[in-house]
Symmetry: C2
Subunit: 486 residues, 2 copies
Amino acid sequence: MATDKLDFVFKKIDELAAAVAPEYNIINDRLAPAVKIPSISSDRSPDGRKNVVAMTDFLENQLKALHASVHRYPLGPEPDTDLQLPDIIIANYPSTYDANKKTILIYGHYDVQPAGDGWTTNPWTLTEKEGKLYGRGSTDDKGPLLAWLNALEAYQLANIDVPVNLIFCFEGMEESGSTGFATFASSPANSHIFAHVDAACISDNYWLTTRKPCLTYGLRGINYFKLTVEHPGVQLHSGMFGGCVYEPMTDLVILLSKLVDSQGRILIPGIEELVEGVTEEEVQEYATIEFTTRDFQDTIGSRANIFEDPKDTLMHRFRFPSLTIHGITGADSSPNQTTSIAPSVTAKFSIRTVPYMDQNSITNLTTHHLMHEFDKLRSKNTCRVELFGESAPYWLGTSDDANFRAGKMATQRVYKTEPDLTREGGSIGVTLDLQNVLGEKSIMLLPVGMSDDGAHGPNEKLDRVNYIEGSKLLGAYWYYFANPYS
Amino acid sequence: MATDKLDFVFKKIDELAAAVAPEYNIINDRLAPAVKIPSISSDRSPDGRKNVVAMTDFLENQLKALHASVHRYPLGPEPDTDLQLPDIIIANYPSTYDANKKTILIYGHYDVQPAGDGWTTNPWTLTEKEGKLYGRGSTDDKGPLLAWLNALEAYQLANIDVPVNLIFCFEGMEESGSTGFATFASSPANSHIFAHVDAACISDNYWLTTRKPCLTYGLRGINYFKLTVEHPGVQLHSGMFGGCVYEPMTDLVILLSKLVDSQGRILIPGIEELVEGVTEEEVQEYATIEFTTRDFQDTIGSRANIFEDPKDTLMHRFRFPSLTIHGITGADSSPNQTTSIAPSVTAKFSIRTVPYMDQNSITNLTTHHLMHEFDKLRSKNTCRVELFGESAPYWLGTSDDANFRAGKMATQRVYKTEPDLTREGGSIGVTLDLQNVLGEKSIMLLPVGMSDDGAHGPNEKLDRVNYIEGSKLLGAYWYYFANPYS
């Protein structure tokens, strides 16, 4: 009978997607109006922030229409601005907690990146071409977020009882560092929100390829550093002073060259020892993941992959650390021919961290290494290493619990295939914030979009089929979480 | 009798500087109105260029009032702009060539740098404070240029015959790379201008200190390079791809670290062998120059000098090469925490060159060295080295000829001291252009301003005393060039 119930839900989703105007349709009447709202959280103009709030209002209305009880949590002013942070939406469905059902916490974000250049369609008009729905936020994260609402609506239209208590948690600052979220989540005044949660699910990442769905159980962390070298004096002309003074850029590039080699190996002593050893069992797991070097080359747009074996590529993305030098401030970055010796230069670099790299150990090892290398230069410049901006520890969930089993069953049901079990190379800060609040409760990342969706870039898209089947996937996940033996 | 004639000239200069309004005064009525015209050659707006032309007009009027014959040479349109280049002024005095006199070519420039930030006075209003005349262009190069006119005016008012033929050559693009000057100077159609020149003098540099005048007989050259490392694909996220792809910034900083060490030693094999060896005689010459480490520290605003012995500092400024890394384009230079892997990064660096570093050899050695180091990385990125913008060879004049003897006698007469014989670490492109035209004829750099004048920076100034005594110096130089045994 299990199968039959979900079949009704799936049928409704198909109908909701296929309906022709003036009939209601979950693409034209749900995703399209959401994409139309340029809810760019990094736009610190008053109008920009109003657009984000318009998106809060939109979601509140959508959730209320689905009979959820909606609460908006103001987060106060955004630091260093005159703006109020957009509210966090907490919505409960059913509106009254049902003690006979398990409870799932669902996280999504309703803000987006700026459009940027290079679009071939209007980024704020959802445009379908060859089965792809183009628009800013289509896949990150409005599409997946609304897929949860599609599932709920389909259950209701099919007259199927949603078999779990749902707590929707939607924020509007994710693309700007989730300002206020950790404080909100960890506040004792808000602990009641999370009291009954049995498991959590975040749909805000992507399949590893364009062919196969996945469940994601790990994220790399990030330690972000600033390395500054300063000449104690004024800006000098390279003609008059070159060769006679210690030049900060000279020292800086020497120090940067001691961080990582061309093959991506981190050169900081002690870092390697912190990384969890690879087991034979783990290697075999990687071998089961459907991922080829060609997949990787297609994604990066070149053949400049370091590893020939796709297993090595996966391991370096999932479970080995990496170090990237992002750029330098203070030196001349103009395209012009200039001839000054910059008096103060700062490099920004970050280390992606994995089990069991403790954040403080990394900071200490990195600082010690750089200061030691700087001492060896016998320079009269000064040097300092600082943590910069948001750093986050790695996250490793448990991939063999009831939450992931439900995700796996839902995937098998909808996509007729076993999902890949993946980790992400990037960080999703809220995962850790939620894990802190939920303690031992399981969190699963269950993506709707694919590897080629192009989040953050121009021509961001979500395949129509992913939007529809993704809505089914999320609805099926609820079902199998409540009915693990069906 | 020689002394007496110059005494009359000097007396007139003193009178012209001391005169109180409504009487004519060479500060208020010559330098101040010139500073008032913001003749910024790098301002490519139509109004900006009009200001430069207003300065051309101003000089034409000044020269005509002094009975010179003035010719304006249009240089045509400025490449990549809609603007006409400002004219070069060629003015002859006396207006008819006197075959019984020697001929001196005098170069100056009438354009200035933009004002920039940090001024405590209005940069376009010549303002005297504690004996210093503040204003953009006061020392670079309007003050020295007008000092030549002061000298000519004083000769005339004293009824002393100017003992040489004068050819003034004033350009308006020096601060923007002297566009058009080399073509103008080397054009066969203009060869008549330079036909009778016996020697040339440029007053566009500075004393080595604030205490002692100097004559300058050498300039370092410059080879300016771009070093580009590119990933063949798209911009990538450091979380998803860090550790799996060759990162251009990693390769770039490794390559840059192979160029120069913290102590300023160039690491490119073969460069050192090109540098003229130091002779014992030369070392002794440096010892006679009045220059202390304290002078140097005052100028750079810190104690971050590489060398303790001021002789070493001088030699590294005058006669050893240096290499400066100016900055990087393509990597993120914002102050924000960003997480991308830049797909294409370009470092700008320059080598200051000295005798006998051939420009092509330097380019070849540098390119070969970097490509060799890049090969060693076994990276799948691509790398290229290019010359960029204006490069110029070093210049070395002859410091013991009639021209320099005249400069030395003029200095002894005005300042009652022996001038330092210096070279400059920077490049002055027109020196080479003029040397090419003049062949074996001597060029001398005869500065009016001091080491602390702050050309190009905020609060540029020329000491009142330097403006007045400098006018005498230039006038005396004419005199001693014509009368070497007086």
